[in-house]
C-alpha cells in the first residue's frame, strides 16, 4: 500500500487524464468536422447530380407505341390496315410457383414449339418480374376459346392484344405499298431510337418505307414510379402517343387491279399517270408477292421461293427494271430534231430499209426490210420507220441528243416517292470513255436514235417523258402520295403538285407534229397500233416499241421460235389520252413477249378505256365466287354452333 502510494500519484494521474481527454475531444471534433464536410460535399455540391441519379432510379418511362397510319387508295379503299392480333403473355410475378410448371401445364392445352419456349425464357429473364412476356403470338380462335375456359387455372397467364399490320388486298399493289417488318440492326442505325421505343415494326420497302416518318406517328410515354425491384408504384405523368398519319395514295385501286390482271402470266410492268399533276394512277409489276408474308418475319422457305424465282417477283419492275425503250421514244427524238432544226415536220427522208453511216459499210436495218420510201415525221412515227430516226440521230449527234433527252428525265431518277428507284442510263461520250474506255462512234448514236444500244430507262421514266410530251413541255414530278389525314376526324389534305423544270423548245408549235404522229399510230390506216386504236371514244396518242434483247447478226433473221424465251423481244407501248386534253399517260412493258403492237398496245388501250370510261377489268366473278364460299363457311359455322 505504501509502495503503491509512493509511485501512484492521484494528482499526476488526473493531470494526465485531463490532457488526454482534451486531445481526444479535439480529435473527435476534427473527425466529425470531416464527416460534416463530406456531408456538405454530398448534399450541397452533389445535390443536383444525386437528385438526378435518384430520379433515374425510380422513374421509368414506358413507351406507348403509336398506331401506324392507314394507307388508302385515292378513293378511300383500304390498302394497308392495322388489325388486332391476340397473344398469350405471362407476368412472372403473378405466376404462383415456378413458371416452368405453368408452361408445362399450358402446353397440354396449347401446343408450344421449343423455339417459342426458348425465346420466351430468354426474354422473360431479361425483363423484370412485373412485365408481361409474350409466350405465343397469333392465337387462333380455337386456342383462345380453349384458354379462356381454362384461364382460372393459369394465374399470371393472359391474352393480350397487339396491333399487327395487314394488307387486306394481298399481293395487289404489293410493290407500291411495300411492307413493314421487325426492326433489325440495320434499321436501328438509321432511325432515332428514342422515337421507336415500344415500336416493333418499321417500313422496309415501298410506301411503307418511303413515308415511314408520316406513317409511324409519335411515341407516347408513361412515366411511372417504380421501386428497386421494378414494381410499378404510381403513374407520374403520361404523354399520349400521336397516331401516324393516314395516307391517301394517288393509285386508283381498280385501275391497278385492271393493269395487274392484264399482265397476268407475263413478266412486265404498267405505269399509268395523270400528266396534269404527276399522280401515279397505277403502278403494276408482275409477277407479284404478298406483303403480308413479311410482316412477322418471312419463313426461310417462303423467302427462298421468292428469291430463287427466276421471274424475280420481289423486284418492282416499274421503277427498278431498266429496259431499252425501243421505238417508244421516237416522238421525243423527233422533238430533238425539230428543236435543233435538223428536221422540220415536212422534211422527208429516203428510207430504203437500211441506213449507212457515210463512209461505212455497216447497214442499220429497218424492221421493214422493204423500206418505207420517202417519209416525213408524222409518217415515220406512225410507221415507226427506223431509217428516219437513224438518220435524224446521226445528224443530231450524241452531244445534242443526250442533253436533250436528259431534259425529259432520261438518265436520272424521277424522284417518285418510293425507295430504290432506278436511274436508267442516258449514255454520253464521257460516260463511254469512263465506263468502257472507248471512243463514241457515230454508229452508237445511230442505235440510240431508235431507243436501242446503251440507252436504258425504267417504265416510270418512260411514262414521265411521254407525259411531258403530252403536256407540251410541262413536267410534273411523279408521286404516289396524294393526300394526308392527320386523324380520322380531320379532312384529307391534298398535297401540292411539284413541278420539275419544263422542257423549253424554240416554238411551242413544234410539239404538234410528234403528237400528231402518235395519233396516227393509233388512228391512221398505216399506224402500227391502228387495231388497238380502233373504235376508241376519244383520240389516243400512242407509240409502240419492240426492244431487242438479243443482238442479231447482219444477215440473220429474228426468229422467235428458235430463240430462248428470255432472249425474245420486249413489247412496249406508251400512250396518252385524250390526245389534246391528256388525262392519263401510260407506259407498258411486257418482257420477252414479242412485238409492241400485238402485245403491249392492246393492254394500253384497255387501261385507258378502264380509266376514262370506268370500264375496269376486275376479277369480279372470282370475287363473287369467293364471297359465296365465305358465306357458305359462315353458315356452316352457325350450324356448328
Amino acid at each position: 500500500m505504501v509502495k503503491r502510494e509512493s509511485i501512484k500519484s492521484e494528482h499526476e494521474e488526473l493531470k494526465l487524464f485531463h490532457s488526454r481527454s482534451l486531445v481526444a475531444a479535439a480529435v473527435v471534433f476534427l473527425a466529425l468536422a470531416g464527416i460534416l464536410f463530406r456531408l456538405f460535399v454530398l448534399q450541397v455540391e452533389g445535390h443536383d447530380y444525386f437528385t438526378e441519379e435518384s430520379r433515374k432510379n425510380y422513374l421509368k418511362s414506358l413507351p406507348i407505341p403509336p398506331a401506324r397510319g392507314i394507307i388508302y387508295d385515292r378513293n378511300g379503299k383500304v390498302l394497308a390496315d392495322n388489325r388486332s392480333e391476340y397473344v398469350l403473355a405471362v407476368v412472372r410475378d403473378e405466376v404462383p410457383g415456378k413458371v416452368k410448371d405453368t408452361i408445362k401445364r399450358l402446353e397440354k392445352l396449347i401446343p408450344l414449339s421449343d423455339k417459342e419456349k426458348q425465346k420466351f425464357y430468354q426474354k422473360m429473364w431479361r425483363q423484370n418480374r412485373y412485365q408481361a412476356t409474350v409466350l405465343r403470338s397469333k392465337l387462333t380462335e380455337k386456342e383462345m376459346a380453349v384458354f379462356s375456359v381454362n384461364q382460372p387455372r393459369f394465374p399470371g397467364v393472359r391474352i393480350n392484344v397487339q396491333m399487327e399490320r395487314y394488307y387486306p388486298l394481298g399481293e395487289i399493289a404489293g410493290h407500291v405499298l411495300g411492307y413493314v417488318g421487325k426492326i433489325d440492326k440495320r434499321d436501328l442505325k438509321r432511325i432515332a431510337k428514342r422515337e421507336y421505343k415500344g415500336s416493333t415494326h418499321i417500313g422496309k420497302s415501298g410506301i411503307e418505307k418511303f413515308h415511314e416518318k408520316l406513317l409511324h406517328g409519335k411515341t407516347g410515354y408513361r412515366i411511372i414510379e417504380v421501386d428497386a425491384h421494378g414494381k410499378p408504384q404510381k403513374l407520374e405523368k403520361q404523354e399520349d402517343p400521336i397516331v401516324g398519319k393516314d395516307l391517301f395514295l394517288s393509285i386508283d385501286i381498280n385501275l391497278q387491279i385492271t393493269a395487274e390482271t392484264l399482265l397476268k402470266g407475263k413478266r412486265g410492268a404498267v405505269v399509268a399517270m395523270d400528266p396534269r399533276n404527276g399522280e401515279v394512277l397505277a403502278m403494276a409489276s408482275v409477277p407479284m408477292y404478298d406483303p403480308n408474308l413479311f410482316v412477322n418475319g418471312i419463313s426461310h422457305k417462303n423467302y427462298n421461293a421468292l428469291r430463287n424465282n427466276l421471274d424475280r417477283p420481289l423486284y418492282n419492275r416499274a421503277i427498278q427494271g431498266t429496259y431499252p425503250a425501243g421505238s417508244t421514244i421516237k416522238p421525243i427524238v423527233s422533238m430533238a430534231g425539230l428543236h435543233y432544226g435538223v428536221v422540220t415536220p415536212a422534211s422527208k427522208v429516203r428510207a430504203p430499209g437500211y441506213f449507212q453511216v457515210p463512209g461505212h459499210r455497216h447497214r442499220y436495218r429497218c424492221w421493214n426490210k422493204r423500206g418505207h420510201g420517202s417519209v416525213n415525221m408524222s409518217y415515220a412515227i406512225a410507221q415507226s420507220c427506223d431509217v428516219y430516226f437513224y438518220s435524224l440521230a446521226y445528224r443530231l449527234g450524241i452531244d445534242r441528243f443526250a442533253p436533250f433527252m436528259k431534259l425529259f428525265g432520261f438518265g436520272g431518277k424521277t424522284g417518285v416517292d418510293l425507295p430504290s428507284e432506278g436511274a436508267g442510263l442516258m449514255p454520253t461520250r464521257e460516260w463511254k470513255k469512263k465506263r468502257h474506255n472507248a471512243t463514241w462512234y457515230p454508229g452508237d448514236t445511230v442505235n440510240i436514235g431508235i431507243g436501242q444500244g446503251y440507252w436504258i430507262s425504267t417504265p416510270l421514266q418512260l411514262v414521265s417523258a411521254i407525259s411531258t410530251l403530252s403536256m407540251k413541255g410541262k413536267r410534273l414530278k411523279p408521286r404516289l402520295l396524294r393526300g394526308i389525314r392527320k386523324s380520322k376526324n380531320l379532312p384529307e389534305e391534298i398535297q401540292a403538285v411539284s413541278y420539275l423544270p419544263s422542257v423549253k423548245v424554240k416554238s411551242q408549235k413544234m410539239w404538234n407534229a410528234p403528237i400528231q404522229g402518235m395519233i396516227n399510230v393509233m388512228h391512221s390506216p398505216f399506224g402500227t397500233a391502228r387495231r388497238s386504236g380502233a373504235g376508241a371514244a376519244y383520240e389516243i396518242a400512242g407509240k409502240t416499241g419492240t426492244a431487242q434483247v438479243f443482238g442479231i447478226g447482219q444477215k440473220e433473221k429474228y426468229n422467235a421460235r428458235r430463240l430462248a424465251k428470255h432472249l425474245h423481244d420486249h413489247a412496249l407501248f406508251v400512250a396518252f389520252a385524250p390526245a389534246h386534253d391528256p388525262k392519263i399517260a401510260v407506259a407498258i412493258i411486257a418482257e420477252n413477249s414479242g412485238g409492241g403492237s400485238h402485245v403491249a398496245a392492246p393492254i394500253g388501250r384497255r387501261i385507258i378505256d378502264a380509266y376514262l370510261l370506268k370500264r375496269y377489268l376486275l376479277p369480279e366473278d372470282e370475287e363473287n365466287a369467293k364471297e359465296g364460299e365465305n358465306t357458305k363457311k359462315k353458315k356452316k359455322k352457325r350450324n356448328n354452333r
Binding site: 475531444a25 452533389g46 437528385t51 435518384s54 432510379n57
Partner: protein, 370 residues
C-alpha cells in the same frame, strides 16, 4: 419513505444531462426507424421494447459501485472469452459468419459482451499500477485486448472486432501511452493495413475495401450499397425530402436501410440541417460522457469511462463515414438509432457504467447519509 428516498437516490445517481441527450437521440432514432422500416409499426414497437430493456439495464448498472464493477471484471471477461470460443465451436451461422449463440429463447452475440468486458479488463489491469504504464504493462494490456479481438475477427466480424479493439486501445491511451509510441503505431498502420489486406482478410472483406475506393466498378454488386447510400444522402440536399418522403428508402433502393444504413435515410429525409442537428446531439453526448469520465473517483473509473465515451464516437464515425462513402463498409450500426436489440443494450449499458463510475465528489457528499 424509505422507498421514496431510494427512488430519489436512484435518480440522483443518474446524470440527467447525459440522460436527456440520450432520450432525444433515442426518440429521433425511433422516428427515423419508422420511416426506414417502411412505416412498420411492429418493427418500431419491437425497437421500443429494446429501448425499454436497454434503459433498465442502464439504470441498474448506474447503481453499481466502481469497486463492485472492478470485482466483476475478471469474471465477465473470462465468461466473454469462453463464450467466444463456444461460438467458434458451434455458433449459429448468419450472413456467412459465425456470430450468434442460440440460447433457445433468444440469439445472442457474445462479442457484444467484449465491447464492455474488454476495456473493463484493461482498466482493471492498470488500476493498481503506476501510470504512465511501463512497456511490460503495455504489452500485457495489448494481450488482454487482442485475445477477444482475434477470436471475433475469426468469426468473421470486422465491425465488432474494430470496436472491441478500439475500446481496449483507448484505455491504454488514457493510461498514458507515450506519444512517441502512438505516432509510431499510427504510421505503422498503412504498412500493417497492407499485410492485413493481403493475408488477414476474407475475400468479402477485401471486396469491401476495393469497392470503397471505386464503388462504380461494381455497381450492381458490392458497390451498390455505397452508390445508393450516396444518392440518398446527396439527393436529400440542405433541407431533406421530408419525413417518410425519402424516395431512395421508400422505394427500397437503399439496402439495410433500417440497420447499418439508417443514417442515409435520415440524411435523405432531413437534409444537411438534420445532419448537423444529429451530429451536434452526438457531440453533446460524447462531450458529456468524457466530462463524466474526468469526474471519476479512481483510475479504473476514469479509464473505463473515457474509453467507453470514445468507443461511442468510433461507432458514430465509422458508420457515418461508411454510409457517406469515405470508409469501407464494415458492419457498424449508427449508435442508438439503427434497429437491433443487442447493440442498443450494450450501448446503454455503457452509459449506465459511465454514470455509475462518476460521483467522486458526490460520493463524499452522500457518505454521511449511507
Amino acid at each position: 419513505m424509505d422507498i421514496l428516498s431510494r427512488v430519489f437516490r436512484w435518480f440522483n445517481q443518474l446524470d440527467l444531462i447525459l440522460m436527456s441527450g440520450l432520450v432525444i437521440l433515442l426518440f429521433l432514432g425511433s422516428v427515423t426507424l419508422y420511416s426506414a422500416s417502411g412505416e412498420n409499426y411492429a418493427m418500431v414497437s419491437r425497437q421500443g421494447l429494446h429501448i425499454l430493456l436497454a434503459t433498465i439495464v442502464m439504470l441498474l448498472l448506474s447503481q453499481v459501485k466502481s469497486k463492485t464493477m472492478q470485482s466483476w471484471t475478471i469474471w465477465v471477461y473470462g465468461l466473454g472469452v469462453l463464450l467466444l470460443i463456444l461460438v467458434m465451436a458451434q455458433g449459429h451461422i448468419g450472413m456467412g459468419a459465425r456470430r450468434w449463440l442460440d440460447l433457445g429463447v433468444f440469439r445472442f452475440q457474445p462479442s457484444e459482451i467484449m465491447k464492455l468486458a474488454g476495456p473493463m479488463m484493461v482498466a482493471r489491469y492498470f488500476s493498481d499500477r503506476p501510470l504512465p504504464p511501463s512497456l511490460k504493462d503495455i504489452i500485457v494490456a495489448l494481450c488482454i485486448v487482442m485475445l477477444p479481438v482475434l477470436l471475433i475477427v475469426k468469426q468473421p466480424d470486422l465491425g465488432t472486432s474494430l470496436l472491441v479493439a478500439s475500446a481496449g486501445l483507448f484505455v491504454i491511451y488514457f493510461a498514458g501511452l507515450s506519444w512517441k509510441l502512438i505516432i509510431a503505431t499510427l504510421s505503422a498502420i498503412p504498412v500493417g493495413g497492407y499485410f492485413l489486406f493481403h493475408y488477414g482478410m476474407h475475400a468479402y472483406q477485401q471486396q469491401r475495401v476495393l469497392t470503397l475506393f471505386d464503388p462504380e466498378s461494381n455497381r450492381l454488386g458490392a458497390g451498390y450499397h455505397i452508390i445508393q447510400s450516396k444518392i440518398a444522402i446527396g439527393s436529400g440536399g440542405v433541407y431533406g425530402k421530408g419525413w417518410t418522403e425519402g424516395d431512395q428508402s421508400r422505394l427500397d433502393f437503399l439496402p439495410e436501410r433500417h440497420t447499418d444504413f439508417i443514417f442515409s435515410v435520415f440524411g435523405e429525409e432531413f437534409g444537411l440541417l438534420g445532419n448537423i442537428i444529429l451530429l451536434s446531439l452526438y457531440v453533446f453526448i460524447i462531450w458529456r460522457s468524457l466530462y463524466l469520465a474526468t469526474q471519476g473517483k479512481d483510475t479504473f473509473s476514469r479509464l473505463l469511462g473515457g474509453s467507453l465515451a470514445l468507443t461511442f464516437f468510433v461507432y458514430l464515425f465509422v458508420n457515418t463515414g461508411m454510409v457517406s462513402g469515405i470508409l469501407p463498409v464494415v458492419g457498424v450500426p449508427l449508435p442508438l438509432v439503427s434497429y437491433g436489440g443487442t447493440s442498443i443494450v450494450t450501448l446503454m449499458a455503457a452509459f449506465g457504467i459511465i454514470m455509475g463510475l462518476q460521483k467522486r465528489k458526490r460520493d463524499y457528499r452522500h457518505t454521511p447519509h449511507t
